[in-house]
């Protein structure tokens, strides 16, 4: 049978989180830091969806392929999917506000490097 599907998804998600974390820690450009944040965000969404997978399960949509009587037996867990929809919206919101702040910082300092902001570090 090989590697379980949820493990592949989880490893991918966590790898994205690590890439994003590395990007956030090593880059000095605010836009790259925001991209790192988005990678962490996306990776965590993948991990959350992966925890909802049940072996052999299908999408939780009742139709010809999944009669209502079989839904509890053959479907994946719908709760993580519903939570991830919320998480995506919140992630989008945070990213939008961060980008707006980045534009303001660029207006004020003419640079996107966080080295220009050391006096507000602490």
């Amino acid at each position: 049978m090989g590697l379980p599907l949820s493990h592949i998804l989880m490893v991918t998600g966590f790898a994205l989180v690590l890439i994003g974390l590395w990007g956030m820690l090593t880059h000095r450009n605010i836009l790259r830091i925001i991209i790192g944040f988005s990678l962490i965000d996306t990776g965590l969404h993948l991990v959350m969806v992966a925890t909802g997978y049940v072996t052999g399960g299908t999408a939780p949509i009742v139709d010809k392929a999944l009669p209502a009587a079989e839904a509890t037996a053959r479907s994946v867990d719908p709760i993580p999917s519903a939570l991830v929809v919320t998480a995506i919206v919140i992630g989008f919101s945070v990213t939008a506000v961060m980008l707006a702040f980045a534009i303001r910082i660029h207006d004020a300092r003419k640079t996107l490097s966080i080295d220009a902001l050391t006096e507000s570090q602490w």
């Binding site: 925890t51 949509i61 519903a82």
Partner: protein, 228 residues
């Protein structure tokens, strides 16, 4: 250099933690009782074929209302942050005309994108889709419109009125649920209808459409703010 070593150390620590989580996780074979309850009662009790939509709009409807409020506040916050007078050198910047490909491509696929957005919004209770997803599709169409026609102006007044109206009707439907059904945002205020048809699942398609309008308008405003 020490900074890089420290960053590498931090990433490695996280990698070890994640490896522990993945190693200790075994794929689930059964569903939790809550998931089984949702899977059984969304088609039967709510009449919605898409169980995720049923959870989002009815069982966790209050949460979704909060989400929409967050989006509204983001649109307002981005507006406050970016509404100042544009920086002097930005005014001097010459807008580059869009390429012919974008301009003509937009003409062909824009109507299709908006139609697809409306389809995704209205199909949320039947198949994959819903208000948030469809709203995002519509907003991506608006983004293409802005790329293809840099001079095009969005009517902010119209968008905010539409968006506020959708929000007010959404909350009013929720309060109607207190009165006609079992609680706030209960979708039983409309008849369940025939399972699997467009007009079914009580108030879910109506709330879905309102969500789609609201999300589409809000995301379009956010995108437009970034353009300045």
């Amino acid at each position: 250099m020490t900074k890089r070593v420290f960053s590498l150390f931090a990433v490695l620590v996280f990698a070890v933690i994640f490896a522990g989580i993945v190693g200790g996780y075994s794929e689930r074979r059964t569903l939790s009782p809550l998931a089984q309850h949702y899977l059984a009662s969304v088609p039967q009790d709510l009449g919605a074929a898409n169980i995720v939509t049923g959870i989002l709009i009815t069982y966790r409807g209050f949460d979704t209302l909060g989400e929409v409020a967050v989006l509204f506040m983001v649109a307002a916050g981005v507006g406050i942050l970016l509404d100042g007078s544009p920086a002097p050198e930005r005014q001097a910047r010459e807008d580059r005309a869009p390429s012919e490909l974008v301009e003509n491509g937009a003409r062909v696929i824009l109507p299709i994108i908006f139609l697809f957005g409306a389809y995704v919004i209205m199909n949320g209770h039947l198949s994959a889709g819903g208000g948030f997803q469809g709203g995002a599709v519509v907003a991506s169409g608006v983004m293409l419109l802005m790329l293809a026609r840099p001079g095009a102006q969005l009517h902010h007044g119209f968008l905010s009125v539409t968006e506020s109206l959708a929000g007010v009707v959404y909350v009013a439907l929720g309060i109607l649920g207190l009165w006609l059904a079992d609680g706030f945002l209960d979708s039983h205020i409309l008849p369940k209808g025939e399972f699997g048809t467009l007009v079914s699942a009580g108030a879910i398609p109506v709330i879905s459409a309102l969500l789609g309008i609201k999300v589409g308008a809000e995301l379009s405003v956010v995108i437009d703010r970034f353009r300045r």
